[in-house]
């Protein structure tokens, strides 16, 4: 299974969900596949699940999706303990686990290439609905079906290392621009003002 084909399936299901991406190739691939204004392309490792959790808590009626990587989740394992206790019903986390730090350019292995099992870590942290997905059929069934469920879901998607993201154009918006597009989209769709956004 490669990440891009999973993201293609997800992109086809986007309506009014909010999608938070971490730093890794999936951020570039997702931005290439989806121009949805509800995309927040957070470009920092270890921050996407936290930001997505805050969004899910602030907007419990909206489905929030976090797209993350094994290296990023390993950097912020405390997120799993917090999620395992909060269990926000409107949050779905997809961890695309290729077992390497592909951004390092030398594909240095992550702990999931060794003895670490992120599904087991998530379950131990209290996330009951945690699963490992190993093929695209399973992703289509379990991974996509979770979008329609009202339960915290955590998917460890075992993917091959792919360097496809180096061949497609990077997002043409910067972080601040993307943030404002995102909050203006929320203001429109939630029919409320976001307190910190300027009024000119």
């Amino acid at each position: 299974m490669i990440r891009y084909e999973c993201l293609e399936l997800l992109a086809g299901r986007m309506t009014d969900q909010l999608v938070v991406t971490s730093q890794s190739g999936q951020r570039i691939e997702w931005a290439h596949l989806s121009r949805h204004e509800g995309n927040l392309l957070v470009g920092m490792m270890g921050c996407a699940v936290g930001v997505a959790t805050g969004l899910a808590l602030a907007l419990p009626h909206r489905k929030v999706i976090a797209l993350d990587s094994d290296g990023s989740v390993l950097l912020s394992l405390f997120n799993l303990a917090t999620l395992g206790n909060l269990r926000p019903k409107n949050l779905v986390v997809y961890v695309f686990d290729n077992g390497v730090y592909s951004g390092s350019r030398i594909s240095y292995p992550t702990a999931t290439s060794g003895n670490t099992n992120l599904e087991a870590v998530a379950r131990g942290a209290g996330i009951v609905n945690a699963h490992t997905i190993r093929d695209i059929a399973d992703f289509k069934q379990k991974g996509i079906d979770a979008l329609a469920q009202n339960e915290l879901a955590f998917f460890v998607c075992k993917v091959e290392e792919s360097l496809l993201h180096r061949e497609i154009p990077r997002p043409d918006t910067d972080l601040a621009e993307n943030k404002y597009t995102f909050v203006r989209y929320l203001e429109r769709t939630e029919e409320k003002s976001i307190p910190f956004v300027g009024r000119g």
């Binding site: 938070v20 927040l40 957070v42 920092m44 270890g46 921050c47 699940v49 936290g50 930001v51 997505a52 959790t53 805050g54 969004l55 899910a56 808590l57 602030a58 907007l59 912020s76 405390f78 997120n79 303990a81 917090t82 206790n85 909060l86 972080l175 601040a176 943030k179 995102f182 909050v183 929320l186 939630e190 409320k192 003002s193 976001i194 307190p195 910190f196």
Partner: protein, 168 residues
Amino acid sequence: MRDDLAKRLVQSLKDAGINFVTYLPETRLSQIIPLLRDDPDLELIAVSSEQEAVTIAAGATLGGKQAAVYMENTGIYVSSYSLLTVGKQLGVPVLLIVGYLGGVPDQRNSFLYATIGKHTIPVLQGMGIDYMLLEDGVNLEGKIQDAVRGANALRAPFALLFAGEFSI
């Protein structure tokens, strides 16, 4: 901290618009936790690390909340990465309510805290995070209003360091 100061602190946060607080407990200001928890106008979220206290609060801010993080000043070091990336680089205002242990005005300062306290303000300055030191309850309400307004105007974290009377 005296009970009346704790009550004024929480009421001031509410008056300044704060309605979402992530936290890890500490010793100096811990009397505010039951007040925050029992207030129906506030959402109080317990977390496992100050790093995620900041990212979760930032997500809530983007979702329309006026968010704060309550932490010990050791949490400034722990969360420095998310303060710089999500807070400063992405530009998301978050109020930091910080028990300032080990600084000169900490009334319970000791060898255990002094090194942590000595570097807190230089680290905030190094990150370019604005801060205000509060040593007593004089104009507490106005100072908290100023800090929230400042965070929103700067689109950045703003730290309130509580010591002095707040550390007794």
